[in-house]
Symmetry: C2
Subunit: 351 residues, 2 copies
């Protein structure tokens, strides 16, 4: 059995000298990576650095399955274009898709705070059911716990997912090769800005909606067409920049991307300027990058553009040998800079 | 694909006229069942009443797997004989075992409260690693979220699990038959009393420790010996009584048990008297019932008694045709009474 263990992001850095958990530890940046590496991964005794993927690939003895989990603590529970329920289903479906798996089933674990209106639970559950249906996946098992008032925050949702792997590829950072083309499935930054705008009570000319959407269809379309997919990563906490850095560090290769090729909606750019945020680091919930051989970049793009959720797919960069473990960005004005992982987070409780 | 969806417990009763979640909704009693039935199961549109099992059984196309999840919110985090980490691994391993599955892998999702000492996280994670090792299962994927101070309670843990089903039996309440013998794997009530004693600051002559332990070994031993196991159920929230009631209601059969055959340790009985608790309704984390054909009861008992965790296994009752959907208990003094599900719960946040 060659199982591939994963713990969303990891890298070997000294644990900060803080001895208490801070919000920054949950932000998807360097601090979270260090905490996971030092506390969780070392104790569980797997080979985490070998993988750094969105889910684990398991050999059942009769084929491969993908297995993944995420907890959702987004605040507020409801936001333009979605809610914690849509997020909880989409996020886990997408982690399965990033393993190249066909989503088979989800679990749902609820932690409810005493005093929660049952109507709120009903609304979240209805979103989950609707999103699961749209993603062609069943929610087959679950659990509900209640905690005292003031010991939770309305609803926390955990989903885990199981998917079936029906191809022979090893889709992982370790499969990335020099020369690979990097494809981005759409514009970035919308989920983070949508949440932040609600939280800060900001009004824009048009409401910025989350990009939250299931990504299994475009991934399965790439695989069905025989594209030799090397690596997939959805651009959640830490955004596009952090995902690319994780892959560059894990594969020990150089990732070079062109800012001009990275779509950011005008209202998202505007909101980022007001809020002092960088769209490259903002969480998305319906966007991913695909690393494919350069020779297959154009057919792969055509396939992605044939799917609604990835209609604006673009080739944003390429992989080379060196400088190893580094991401560089050619900016809109032509200068080149290194992208580094943020220490903490831009936005807490974004998912 | 004939997947069997589950949501820990369900039965068709009117939702109470409360419109907010209360602690009683998390207690494993009638209120929780009604909430799940009316809000969650109806929305997810599965066939929950057909199953009412601890996990879902999925057909992957190349064999059957079991899939289950639980969130853990136990308070306090540490108690005699275990902690939230041992509980989180054991509970999910046991739900897989109750499907007759060999545990393959677990996920771990942490929701940390800002300000949590990292040493506390380290202690919990170490317990999880140790317990997983003892249960021969890997923790292969995970997720960590941080919530603001006062919006959580130290650590909540979710685990999900995947197991492989290597037999052809349908282990479920619907497989229970009149004439089946009911086997109980050991004494009951220890987990509930262990938690309650810490919470209330009670001292007994000897410390009462949780019975928390993985149950995969005795179950796999029964299956390996060819015992035709009809149904398995671990005796968590709601205890032995609630588990038996769920199975009686789901199978529409009569379950009759003998209190004299149900072991309760003296110190547990004593604590229950002081605290006004009924050990039959107290949560256990290392006990289960097995429904097997009467002709196989003695060999099955011998197998269970050969395993440390079920060394005190006993035959506690039998299944008959009628009165349907009812559990009766022959008390220690020989009278017979009906066991009914409690409305709310005896003890909140026990797991």
């Amino acid at each position: 059995m060659t199982n591939t263990p994963t713990f969303a992001g990891s890298c070997p850095l000294p644990l900060s000298n803080q001895d208490h958990v801070t919000l920054a530890h949950g932000g998807g940046g360097r601090m979270m990576h260090t905490l996971l590496e030092r506390v969780v991964l070392s104790a569980f005794g797997n080979q985490p650095l070998a993988s750094r993927h969105d889910g684990a690939v398991l050999e059942t003895g009769k084929g491969r399955i993908a297995f993944t989990t995420d907890s959702y603590v987004v605040h507020p529970l409801f936001f333009p274009g979605g809610d914690i329920g849509t997020l909880a289903v989409t996020g886990t479906v997408n982690d399965l898709a990033m393993c190249g798996a066909r989503p088979l089933a989800l679990s749902a674990g609820f932690i409810l705070e005493e005093g929660l209106p049952i109507a709120t639970l009903e609304r979240v559950v209805a979103s989950m059911a609707r999103t699961a249906k749209a993603a062609s996946v069943d929610i087959v098992t679950g659990d509900t716990k209640v905690v005292d008032r003031g010991k939770g925050d309305g609803i926390f949702v955990n989903t885990a997912g199981v998917g079936v792997i029906e191809h022979g590829l090893a889709i992982a950072p370790s499969s990335v090769r020099p020369g690979d083309a990097i494809l981005l499935s759409g514009d970035v930054g919308r989920h983070g800005v949508a949440i932040m705008a609600v939280r800060e009570g900001l009004q824009f000319e048009s409401t910025i909606e989350t990009d939250c959407a299931p990504l299994a269809a475009p991934v399965l379309a790439l695989l069905a067409a025989g594209i030799e997919v090397h690596c997939l990563r959805d651009l959640t906490r830490g955004g596009l920049a952090t995902s690319l850095i994780e892959i560059a560090e894990s594969s020990r290769l150089h990732v070079d991307v062109d800012e001009n090729a990275i779509a950011v909606e005008d209202n998202v750019s505007g909101a980022c300027e007001i809020l002092g945020l960088d769209p490259l680091y903002l969480a998305n919930e319906g966007r991913f990058v695909a690393f494919v051989p350069a020779a297959q970049a154009e057919p792969a793009l055509a396939i992605l553009r044939g799917q609604a959720v990835s209609a604006r797919a673009a080739r944003i960069g390429a992989v080379s040998e060196s400088p190893a473990a580094l991401v560089t960005l050619k900016s809109r004005i032509g200068t080149k800079r290194i992208l580094d992982m943020h220490s903490g987070e831009q936005l807490p409780r974004i998912c």
